[in-house]
Every structure is written in C-alpha cells, then in structure tokens.
Symmetry: C2
Subunit: 534 residues, 2 copies
C-alpha cells in the first residue's frame, strides 16, 4: 500500500477498517477443483408452454450443482472476461458478490478480467465501465452500498436496448455477465441471456438475488442478500421506539417499513421486536379489509390500551399496505382510468367515480385525496408510492378516535409520530451472514460462468448450516417465472414471493401477536455486533 | 434467579443479556472511603444579584470535590432514604444513573432505601413510586430508555405543586432526591432544593445532566449522558444515507436531527459523517440569514453538484433551525401576537402583518403557512415544533431550482427524500461511555446526598481520561443560571449552551466542510460495537 493509500485508509472509521479485514466464510470446495453435476431438465411451475415460447433457446435447462472433486488437483481455469452490473436498490452484501466473483476468477486464472459497468444497466448499454483490480475492491470488502459501481433501475426493454448491450458485450469480448438485483433485474437477465444466445453472442448471463424486500425467494432461492442486515437495522430502531413510547408514555409511533410488493420485512421485524400491532398487506388482502376496517382495528387497539391507561405504543406497517387494500385498489383503478381519459379536476373526477369508490375517496383525509389526484408518475398514473401510509393511518385513526370520543366510548388522548425506515438500511454495513452469502454467491457466479452456463439464477442454499456446508449451484431462471398480463401486453417475469399466510413465520406471528397488544414486551437485539454473530 | 425469572431473561435479545453483565468502569475512590473537599464559595456568571434573591438559602455554596481518603478504611455510611425521578426526554445512560445511585447507597448501608417515582415529576407530586430492589434493576443495567420508571415533562411550578412534593418527601422521610434530566429539570431541581430548605424539609436535592441534545454543558458540566450514544446512532444512519445517495445517484436525502435549541447533535454528526452540507442554527443566526438566503445556499450546492453530473447527496439540518432564522422568528412573533388578539383567519391575519413579515409568510410553501396558522400549542402559540424543517426546505429549494432552470442556469434533476432522526436514538442501548458516565454520576449523586448537599448538579469530569481517573463532585446549580425574561415574568433558569462559533469543533467543521460539497467522502463508523470501544 502506498503512503497515500495508507493515509486514505486511516481516514476510514475504525469499524470500516476492521471489516475490510474480515474473511468471509464459504464452502471450501469453491476454492478447490470441483465438479459440475447437472440435475434433471426443468420446467416452470406456471405457464410453462408460454414461457418456453418466450425463451426457446434456454427454456428447460437442468439445475446445476457444484460438487466436490475427490480426485483431481486444483485446476487452473480458463482466462475469462466477465462483466458485472448492480441494478435496482442497493442491498448489503452486494459489494461482496463482486469481490467473490473477482477472487474466484483471479484465483483460477490471474489473467482473467472483471469489468464493472457503472451506474447500473444504463452503463451496460452505453459501455461505461471500469476494469476492476484488487485496489478497486480494497475499500469495499464487507461494506454496504452499491457505490463501488453505482446502480440504476434502467431495463433492457427494446430490441435497440439489447442491440446496444450486445455491441458492448462483443466489444469487450465478454465470456460472462453477472446481474445483481431483484425481480426486475433477474427477469431482465433472463431476457438478456436468451437474446444473446439468439444472436450467437458468446456472453453467458447469470443473476444474483439481491433485494432487501426479501420477496425474491422460492423453492430454488432461499433468500436474497440484504434482507438479514436490513431487518436487523430496522429492528434495532423499532425496538428503540417501543422503549421510547414506554418511557415517555404519551405517543404512538406509527412506523412504515420498506416492502412495496410484499410484507416480509414488516413480518420479520415484528417477530424480532414485538410491536403492539403489525399489519401485513397479504393478510389485509386475504381478509378483504377496507381502509375503514383497518382504521377501526387500529382504533380498537388504541381504545383497549387507553382503557388500561396506556396512551402510547408502537405499530408497524409495510409501505405497500395501500396496494393490498381492495377498496383503495379499486379506487385507484378508477382514478387511473379517469386520469387517462383526460380528467384533471377534482370537481369533474369525483362525480364520475362509482358509488363505492366515491365512498372510499371521501373517507381519505383531504391531503391524501389531493395527493392521489395531482401527483402522477411519468406514465400519468397515480403515484401510490408517494402516499405515506403511516401518515394516512394517523389521520384516519385520529378521525375515528374523535368520533369514538364524541360517543363516549374512548377517553384516552391520542398523539402519534410518523416514521419511515427504508433508505437508511439499504447501505448498512452487512452482517456476517450477508458478507458470507454475498461472497459465496459471487464465487458461485464465477463457477457457473466458467462452465458456460447462461440464464441461471445463482443459488447458495442450506443457509441455516455453517457456511462451510452451504450448497452451491444455479437454477434456470425460467423455473421461477410466470406470465404477467398488464396493459394489454404480457410477458414472462420472475415471480414475486408474498408472505405465505399458511407458513411457519406467519403462524408464529399470529399466535404471539395477541400477547403484544396490551404489553410493552418490546425486544431489542441492539445494533448489529459484527464480530460476534454468524 | 427463579425459574420464571430465568425464562424471562432468556426471552431477551442476546446483546441485551450480554450487556446486563457489563461492569461499568468508574473511579475506584467512589467505592472506598473518600473525603469531601469543599471549594471556594461560588457566584453566578450573569445576574448574580437577582439569582441570589431567588435562592437566598442556597445561593453561593462551594463546589464539592470527592477526593481520596488515604488513611481511613472503608466507612459504613448512614442509612438513607433517597428518591429518584426521570424527567424529560429519555437519554441513554439514564438507567445506569439509577443503578449507580442504588449500588452506592446499598454498598454503604444495606438498609438504605431507594424509591423510584413513576412517570416523572407528576409521580413525585402524586406520591406514586416503587421501592427499588436489585430485582427491579436486573433487566435495566446498561440498557437504554427511561422505562424502568417512566418520565414526563411536568414541572413543579406553583406553590401548590411544591407543597405536594414536600408532603410526599416528608411522608417517605426522604433524605435525598435525585432529578435526572435536561435544563428544565435541572432548573426545577434548584427550585425544589431551595423550596425544601425554606420549609425546613430535610430532603436534599441534586440533579444529573441528562439530555441527548448536548446543550447542557458549561464550565462545570462537560457533557450530558446520552449525547455520545445518540450521535453515534444517527451518524450510522446518515452515513448509510450518504452511501445510498451515492449508490442510486438520483436523490438528495434531507435529514433533520434532534436539537430544538442548539445544533450540537447536527455538528457532531456532521463531523462524524461528512455530509455534503450541514446547516447550524447558531451560524444562521450570526450571519442573519433569511429563509430565502438559506434556500439559495442549498440551491447553490445542488447546482454545483449538478454541473459535475451529481444529482444526489446528503444534507443535515437541526430540527430547531427555523427558530434561528431571524426573519422567520420575527414572523412568528407577529403571528403569536395576532393570534393572542383573537385573530384566527388567514384573510384577517395576513393584512395585519408588517411588510417584511408578510414577505416572509408568502415565501413559505402553502402547506407550511397553513400549519403555522392553524396548529397551536395549549398556550395558543404557533407550534413551531410541528414544522418539519427538512420538508420545508425541500419545498423552497424545489421552487428555487425551478426558477433557476427556467433561467437556464440549472440543468440537473432534483429529487429529495425527507428524513427525521430523533426518537429512534433516545432509547438506544448506551455506549460504554454513557454506561460508565451514567453509573459514575449515580454513585456521585449518592455521595453528595450522603454528605448532605442540596442544590447541586452532579458532576463527573476529565471525561477524556480513563474512567478510573474521572473527577467526581458537584457544582451549585446557581453557578449555571441566569435570569430569563419572557411573557412579562422573569425567572432564574439553567443556561442553555449553544454551539460555540469560536470553538474548536466549529472551527474544524468550517475548515473541512468545503471539501465535502462536491465529493462523496462519507465516513461511516457503522453501528456501535458495544464491547470494543470505551
């Protein structure tokens, strides 16, 4: 290390420096000479016929398992050129995927090259990249964020997009390309793999499951990188808020957690912290609760607590809750249609709504109604993501409690503080688990590319065992896809996993949550202790 | 421990359990036979004559220093009865003050008793308390929050309030009373000490500096408990947001930090994390910046960054910023006067404003103006604390950038996400420093009461040395007070300490901040590692 580099390192926080020295644990076979065992040919759980049509070249490939080679010595691998792209929101562990990939390829053949595309898929399309060296990775080992390369949400969509990507892949003579991201990214990786194959581009494409939302899990993928870290970061904060409510005894903390399409984060954090109430989108949908019913259930909790002189507590909701509420969803559909027809004034829109949608609309606080009508996304749709569900619920609950007070059935005082935890977790220092898991995924991605596989999600499983025993390999992305129909068009997409209301996590939650309503049995795990846990 | 208690302990998070076993470090002399050395008689820095009139019995007492007794063996102390009260917002380390006090008194005389008043000063007035035993403390050692007893913001104000407190003190036969809190609490403690002395109540009163805002520091008190912990908690989150901005490259994070009356938290967190910009109320006031000028300075930063293709970053502001802006402050004064005169309608209020106040009012985003007019505190005043300064600035900056774009001098894209960090830090697991400091303060409080001192702030100093070398004692609260005049009335209050714009911390900040504007040199210390640092 030069004097200047060493000064730069000293500028880093102590823990940052210490974590750079952490050696991720992983199955030792990834470092030795291993064999590739192919499983049976595969299909898709749903829509297999249609998915095969979308991916005629790559549909139905076998699963791939990396297994011990008990005879041969360590082999020297081929000289490979591999590109890597971060896509979508950052997730702790992402940097270790790149480090694992780099180390794998360089250990096999020191002349192999790794290129990092800058700022996501747009960097792939424009051919904006850097070649990675040990010095490029030095500050990023075991660190959070995606900022070594940057990320974006650009997708390869049009044939022109794919053509640009092919051109870059050919110019760089890429043997492989690794996408790190969530569904959209994994879906995109499959399209890229097929498209490259179709055009006889040699670049094999694999994808690594990375999303803090935890909704990229299925029979093939146990979890995504980042989920372990962020739920622990949020759990520390939520538990602190529980103790704050219990100390000051005058406020409810309404906490929104990330998770637009599924409530895994909220469920996991609730299990870790025991808030007085936690709503899950999936349950709201199954029970077909209206916004008024949800409001009423929260007000019931607050009345019960007020009856025992507790005008404080902590509630957790997933940010995507609104989209799971059937009546609000129906309203949104009608609004979007009216907006598409050119309506843009409250006075002309409201009378056009169906009776039930109008009732829902008028139950919304004024400010939220205005937001729904006037803040649109670039496609002209209502910007649901702008609605802060914790603030919406504070308003509707306040109104409901006011009415109950007028009827004499509620005598407490209600004060509520909104919170949103999301962005501050996405780039947190990864737990040892996410460091190990990301690193093993990176190595495995390298192994899959070495053996010329394309259209695979990289898989590391048996994750509750010690990292040395993890199973590594890959599953065809087509196994995890189904056909999504929207806006007239249809396409194959990687499935999102919702909270399984028949699963064990929800069952435990359902059994325990009644005990949390009236108590202050908040549980803290404190901040992540990086050198202690797995 | 009974089986049931042991089960309850197993239910706790691992780190929670581990921290229960942590043995705080402190000066060993607090455990042995020590002498009390009295310093010279004291005065007050300001308004000494008037303060003497307010506290005729206790003004001018000497400082007290606990010093090694090199001859005598450990003495057995008197049997004492001592009450303890949490008042104001929770601060990490508060539980250890109670534990230190309890341990000190019990080590000196096993028959001494400690009573914890419930839910703050209102528990003192109503005589609502629990006697504390080792079993009461067992779950709270080295833990965050004030929930062992609860807290509130009630003050002893009227003679009737003091009478109730005296009655409770006499009924419990209290030798001593310890208040744990910020200025208001320390001020209140001084009034209680004088009042008790005046009425020949034997209860001596001392106070322990506890506020996360860090504004209870002066020549006698080096810092308050909690500040060390919360700034580290917030710094972790702010650094994560820096990396998030740098990873996704599309948003500014506007972060509000606690600190209504002073900007110590924002300054400390900025020094730890290096955001692209951090505003400090004290500097805004000294420079007499208007809201428009602040907006313009933020917009300048955003334009400079946009010019090098960086449409992202992180900004930090203290929650009390608005109160430091002279023109907004003038507006608020006028609004409060008009509201007091019974005006309650925008159409009648606005024309009554002075020209400059009207200009300021019309520069505010609509929603903020409405908030100012319609949300009042119980005294009818504008509720400044409801204004979310990070959202206000996002609105004013957005407008300013829109105008610059129209003039062709700004070509970037502006997207901003508001954050507020406060409540989630107040009950965080205390750092070793706050554990040690709180525990030493508790012991010292016991020592001051043993030697029959009243009207003192408990002091532990030389805090940059190892805890074994800390100096312990007490300073008369009257030393730290001045006369505050408001609403026609005047009273003695403990002084608030603002950020010293001629001090070293600000100087370092001022030198370094220019380097932070265009870079992404965010620094993370990660989450607090509890068994590593002091």
């Amino acid at each position: 290390m030069s004097g200047k580099e060493s000064d730069a390192m000293m500028e880093l926080g102590t823990l940052h420096r210490e974590r750079l020295e952490y050696l991720p644990r992983m199955p030792p076979l990834l470092r030795g000479a291993f064999n590739i065992r192919k499983g049976d040919i595969t299909s898709a759980q749903h829509d297999a016929q249609e998915i095969r049509k979308v991916f005629p070249k790559l549909f139905g490939q076998p699963s791939i398992h990396i297994v011990q080679n008990r005879g041969d010595p360590v082999t020297v691998g081929e000289e490979l050129k591999v590109g890597v792209v971060f896509a979508g929101g950052p997730a702790p562990g992402g940097h270790n995927v790149v480090c694992g990939l780099f180390d794998h390829l360089k250990e096999r053949n020191v002349d192999s090259k790794v290129f990092g595309f800058l700022n996501g898929t747009s960097g792939l399309m424009s051919g904006t990249y850097i070649e990675l060296f040990e010095s490029s990775l030095a500050r990023f080992r075991n660190q959070g964020g995606f900022h070594m390369l940057g990320s974006d949400r650009t997708k390869l969509e049009t044939e022109a997009d794919f053509e640009r990507a092919r051109k870059v892949a050919k110019e760089l003579d890429l043997d492989g390309l690794v996408f790190i991201g969530g569904f959209d990214t994994n879906t995109n990786a499959m399209y890229a793999a097929e498209n490259f194959k179709m055009h006889d581009v040699k670049t094999n494409v694999v994808s690594v499951p990375s999303t803090i939302d935890g909704d990229l899990r299925n029979q093939q993928l146990q979890t995504s990188i980042g989920f372990d870290t962020v739920t622990k970061v949020y759990a520390e904060l939520i538990a602190n808020l529980g103790y704050d409510a219990y100390s000051a005894k005058k406020s409810y903390h309404f906490c929104r957690l990330m998770g637009r399409h599924a409530s895994h984060v909220a469920l996991e954090v609730a299990l870790q912290t025991r808030p007085n109430m936690c709503l899950l989108g999936e349950e709201v949908r199954r029970r077909r609760l209206t916004l008024a019913e949800i409001t009423s259930e929260i007000a019931d909790l607050i009345c019960e607590r007020a009856a025992v002189d507790k005008n404080y507590g902590v509630l957790v909701v997933p940010e995507g809750l609104i989209e799971f509420i059937p009546d609000v969803n129906d309203l949104l559909k009608e609004l979007n249609e009216l907006l598409a027809k050119g309506h843009n004034d409250r006075s002309t829109i409201v009378p056009e709504l169906s009776e039930s949608a109008r009732a829902t609309f008028s139950s919304l606080p004024n400010s939220i109604g205005t937001q729904l009508l006037f803040e649109r996304d670039p496609h002209g749709n209502v910007q649901l993501s702008r609605i802060e569900v914790e603030r919406l619920l504070i308003e509707t609950v306040k109104k409901e409690l006011g009415e109950r007070k007028a009827r004499g059935v509620y005598k407490g005082s209600f004060s509520a503080i909104p919170h949103y935890f999301g962005y501050e977790g996405r780039c947190a220092l990864p737990t040892n688990f996410d460091c190990n898991y990301g690193y093993a995924l990176g190595h495995t991605a390298g192994a899959l590319l070495e053996s010329s596989n394309s259209g695979y999600a990289v898989s590391v499983s048996d994750l509750t065992s010690a990292p040395e025993k993890w199973e590594c390999g890959g599953y065809p992305l087509t196994m995890m896809m189904s056909i999504e129909r929207r806006k007239g068009a249809s396409g194959a997409v990687v499935n999102r996993s919702l909270v399984n209301l028949d699963g064990i996590a929800f069952k435990v939650f359902k059994e325990q949550r009644k005990n949390w309503r009236l108590t202050e049995d908040y549980r803290t795990s404190g901040p992540i202790q990086h050198f202690e846990q797995m």
